[in-house]
């Protein structure tokens, strides 16, 4: 995967296009934050939180961790909006699939209760 002679792959002259160089301290902070968030989500299970509190906390920590990884480790925070939207918007379509399949699964569940028990 050596670089082709395209103009945008020049060495870190233009930080917006190719050279994503950021202070190591930032990476270390995010690293520590990810550790803390992982510990917190583990503690949710350890202390047996139940119901909406459990699911809310799990989802909140999950999304925070995912956001930190994508934004800082994968440098999405410094990319151009054209790339950010091209990558981050399409996965939202998955939410439609999740909604449809949740309705479908509920329906299957009720049908099974009615006819197979």
């Amino acid at each position: 995967m050596s670089s082709s002679p395209s103009p945008s792959s020049s060495p870190p002259a233009s930080p917006s296009s190719s050279g994503q160089q950021h202070p190591i301290g930032l990476y270390l902070k995010v690293w520590g934050l990810l550790f803390v968030l992982s510990t917190l989500s583990y503690l949710v299970d350890y202390f047996h939180f139940q119901g909406y509190l459990r699911w809310g906390l799990i989802l909140a920590f999950m999304l925070l961790k995912a956001g930190l990884i994508v934004a800082v480790f994968m440098h999405m925070a410094w990319e151009r909006l054209a790339l950010v939207y091209a990558i981050l918007v399409p996965p939202l379509a998955v939410l439609v699939l999740v909604g449809l399949m949740a309705a479908e699964a509920d329906h299957t569940f009720i049908t099974r209760l009615l006819f197979f028990r």
């Binding site: 995967m1 050596s2 670089s3 082709s4 395209s6 945008s8 792959s9 020049s10 060495p11 917006s16 296009s17 190719s18 050279g19 994503q20 160089q21 950021h22 190591i24 990476y27 995010v30 690293w31 990810l34 550790f35 992982s38 989500s41 583990y42 949710v44 299970d45 350890y46 699911w55 799990i58 920590f61 999950m62 961790k65 995912a66 990884i69 994508v70 800082v72 480790f73 994968m74 440098h75 151009r80 054209a82 790339l83 091209a86 990558i87 399409p90 996965p91 998955v94 699939l97 999740v98 399949m101 949740a102 479908e104 699964a105 509920d106 299957t108 569940f109 099974r112 209760l113 197979f116």
Partner: protein
């Protein structure tokens, strides 16, 4: 990209159409000499690959949600299934927690490898990438341990298990197996790039973006684990 530059005459419409030959011509015609993202092709392609991979894992997790919601048999409690005996006490999800921390640490070392690579410190970049690959391999080894424990001691199979819903096994082996495959591929990828760094392959061009591109893949593997950890193990 600049196939028309080599022509002596000023580019008329007919001349530029005939200048584009072969695959290179096809690509330049279709892209109309434009770049949408202003990043190198390698980075753009890696992002697009990761986008497609996102959909694959999303489909797995959605399928898991569907079978879990629709089953009338109780779902095995992951907190107990994945518990470890430490000193006589049962610690829930201990191995999974350790695996999570190992993978996050590997993401951290990978980010620092990218930083070193852009400072053209190729020795440290390669060393950090090898550390990352080692942590990744540790993760895979712990996963192999977990799988053999579940299969041999707890009798979990893709078609059934003694604890409850039969779909637990198929969802578990499919999702974690596919993720483990990604980690394994990532370890190989990182080692290949690290070897090339050490051999000085990128010294001539001074372009070390390959490390960032490999890093994108590795962080994605960590990202997927965040979702698997939350939705499969903790839910």
């Amino acid at each position: 990209m600049n196939t028309t530059l080599s022509m002596a005459s000023p580019p008329s419409a007919a001349a530029s159409a005939s200048a584009a030959v072969g695959w290179r011509g096809l690509v330049s015609d279709w892209s109309s000499d434009r770049e949408a993202f202003h990043v190198s092709w390698g980075k753009a392609m890696m992002w697009i690959f990761l986008l497609s991979d996102t959909f694959i894992f999303s489909c797995f997790l959605t399928g898991y949600m569907t079978v879990r919601v629709s089953t009338t048999v109780p779902w095995p409690n992951p907190s107990q299934v994945f518990a470890l005996h430490v000193g006589g006490a049962e610690v829930p999800l201990l191995l999974i927690a350790i695996m999570t921390f190992v993978l996050i640490s590997s993401s951290g070392t990978m980010a620092m490898a990218v930083n070193c690579a852009y400072r053209r410190d190729r020795i440290n970049a390669a060393a950090l990438m090898i550390v990352t690959a080692t942590l990744g391999e540790t993760f895979v080894a712990m996963q192999a341990f977990e799988w053999s424990k579940l299969i041999l001691e707890e009798g979990i199979r893709p078609w059934g298990n003694p604890m409850g819903a039969a779909q637990f096994g198929s969802a578990f082996f499919m999702i974690t197996g596919f993720h483990g495959l990604h980690v394994t591929a990532g370890v190989i990828y990182l080692l290949v790039v690290a070897t090339r760094l050490l051999r000085g392959r990128y010294e001539q061009t001074g372009n070390y973006q390959i490390v960032e591109i490999a890093g994108l893949y590795w962080h994605f593997v960590d990202l997927v684990w965040v979702f698997i950890f939350a939705l499969f193990y903790l839910w």
